[in-house]
Assembly symmetry: C2
């Protein structure tokens, strides 16, 4: 019998739906904070297989989720390509901004394999220990990763988006480089033991239509095609956050097996725009989970009601917030399992 | 002959389309910065008819836009309701946060008329001087205004959105109060001389479907119905920013005469979702205007190509950025007029 998450990604209307949460491993868990203290810094945590494996498995052990998602970060790839990266306490990621052809030329795809070796080792270790849960590997999508690389930090990415308008050739070359590197990286995760893959395009919704097509849909289509050719057994979940009306086009063009819905997507409209067998994953408001109680119950119910009878993976529409009480997460799992 | 903007809002495919820009009056203009220096603070600028009138008219005089939009702020209404508000230099608006029933009870709709009298005086003065341009009045939509009122400042509005989950009765009462006050305020602007009205729901896209229906679509529907009943001669432009797939439902439910499209909306998909006679307004990326040159030309062309033959009002998808060179704005107007 196949794992529940993989069955949903194969187009089965598994019910009650498999459930996991974006950022299910993280600061809201005391056992995470304990292990985090053992690492020098965040990159050290992501690249120390003993720690990253334990952190990945913590929420699966505690809550019985249907999936473990590799504990890592979307910026591990630029770091592996040679871009300076640090995570400053309370400030988020800081990178040495890439603003021109010299910065692009300094990226070295040849060093990625060695740099990500510990991450792949984590994938292998988690796979061995994960039991009935499915192991999801992931990467940031080229556009979102490019945003951080050009801007040098989070925010509204005005510098990165201005560069896309000012120098579309350079920006396109960066996207192309990332598309190739991301494909290689995801295939390596599949080889190491990932049973499904997810592509996070957290900032896709910032783009006007033509740029969305060029920098979000086209790269995802190429990545998905390469994965299908090499590893048709490993399904891909696309997550073009805030894609709005473009969701249907994205799903059809890329041929992803699963589509992540952000909080703002109306599940009913999504089922119309993206028909089965694509599994729709999402999309409870993380704030409903934070608040808990009746809000949580109502939020869950509104989604399950619409998704019943079609392939669905229950999740949030964005990551678990750090202040979320762990008991609310336990309550969520229990409520979804009672569907 | 009716003004070009009003003809488009009446459903005519006016071509070349009327053009104006969100935040067309503001910091990117040296003549704005000069007048801004004459005011004590931002609220003083908004409530001194001599200054607000001049600032409103500056971009119309300089660029020949088809519309003047009242120079004011969406937070003038909470300020008029009695909530403490100040605009701190470089920090944006700061309000005394409204978090409970006591805060709600402290709001006094009875004081609005006197507080906004100078704003209405500005409307009357601008109308007298506006010539062939049309005068647009505006207000913030209840949800977006409530976000600032509860949070006390800009950002991701997590406190406000959590309150909507935690205490939907209180949040609903705040929305109801704002819906009534906004209706009264917009009708007063129409009486003072506004020829069209716009309802800015800048943060509508943060909401899950059920809350979007309750806090965005329903209030806008009530406001639009009241305006149609009292002033059928004054069209309304709705702007539920980042509404994504919900745009079509919003337009149909509210019956707005114009619909603002944010930068992320694919114009082609919008024309399918929102048929004529609704005028679609937007939606050039403000970054394309900032960059100028080929980017600006390409961005404009992509929109005009789709909108030709249907009622359209050329605009940005969000406000003019403060660093925008004024000559790029002149170039934009010239290019749109050459369509």
């Amino acid at each position: 019998m196949s794992k529940r998450l993989l069955a949903a990604l194969a187009g089965e209307a598994v019910w009650p739906p498999p459930v996991w949460l974006m950022r299910q491993a993280g600061r809201y868990l005391p056992e995470y904070r304990a292990l985090r203290a053992e690492a020098r810094d965040f990159i050290d945590l992501c690249t120390t297989p003993r720690l990253a494996t334990a952190v990945t498995l913590q929420p699966v052990r505690r809550f019985g989720f249907d999936a473990a998602i590799l504990f890592s970060d979307i910026l591990i790839l630029p770091w592996a390509l040679g871009q300076d990266l640090r995570f400053a306490e309370g400030e988020g990621p800081l990178l040495a901004p890439l603003r021109d052809a010299t910065g692009l030329a300094a990226l070295d795809p040849g060093r990625v394999a060695a740099a990500v070796a510990p991450v792949l080792e984590t994938v292998a270790r988690v796979r061995e220990a994960v039991g009935e849960a499915a192991l999801i590997g992931f990467a940031g999508a080229p556009f979102t990763v490019a945003c951080y690389m050009v801007e040098g930090r989070g925010g509204d990415f005005a510098t990165a988006r201005a560069l896309a308008w000012r120098d579309p050739v350079l920006f396109g070359e960066l996207i192309d480089l990332l598309t190739a590197a991301t494909t290689t990286y995801l295939l390596a995760q599949a080889k190491a033991g990932a049973e499904a893959l997810m592509l996070f395009d957290s900032w896709a919704g910032l783009l006007p239509a033509a740029q969305f097509a060029a920098y979000v849909t086209a790269p995802a289509t190429r990545i998905a095609a390469a994965l299908r050719a090499e590893r048709p057994d490993v399904p891909l979940i696309g997550f073009p956050r805030l894609a709005g009306m473009a969701l249907g086009t994205y799903a059809a063009a890329t041929g992803v097996q699963g589509l992540g819905l952000d909080t703002a997507v109306d599940p009913l409209l999504a089922t119309g725009a993206v028909p089965a067998p694509v599994a729709l994953q999402g999309n409870l408001d993380p704030l409903a989970l934070l608040v808990g109680g009746d809000a949580l119950a109502a939020g869950i119910e509104a989604i399950l009601e619409v998704m019943q009878g079609r392939p669905h993976i229950f999740n949030l529409g964005h990551g678990v917030l750090p202040q979320t009480p762990p008991e609310h997460v336990a309550d969520l799992v229990q409520r979804v399992r009672a569907a």
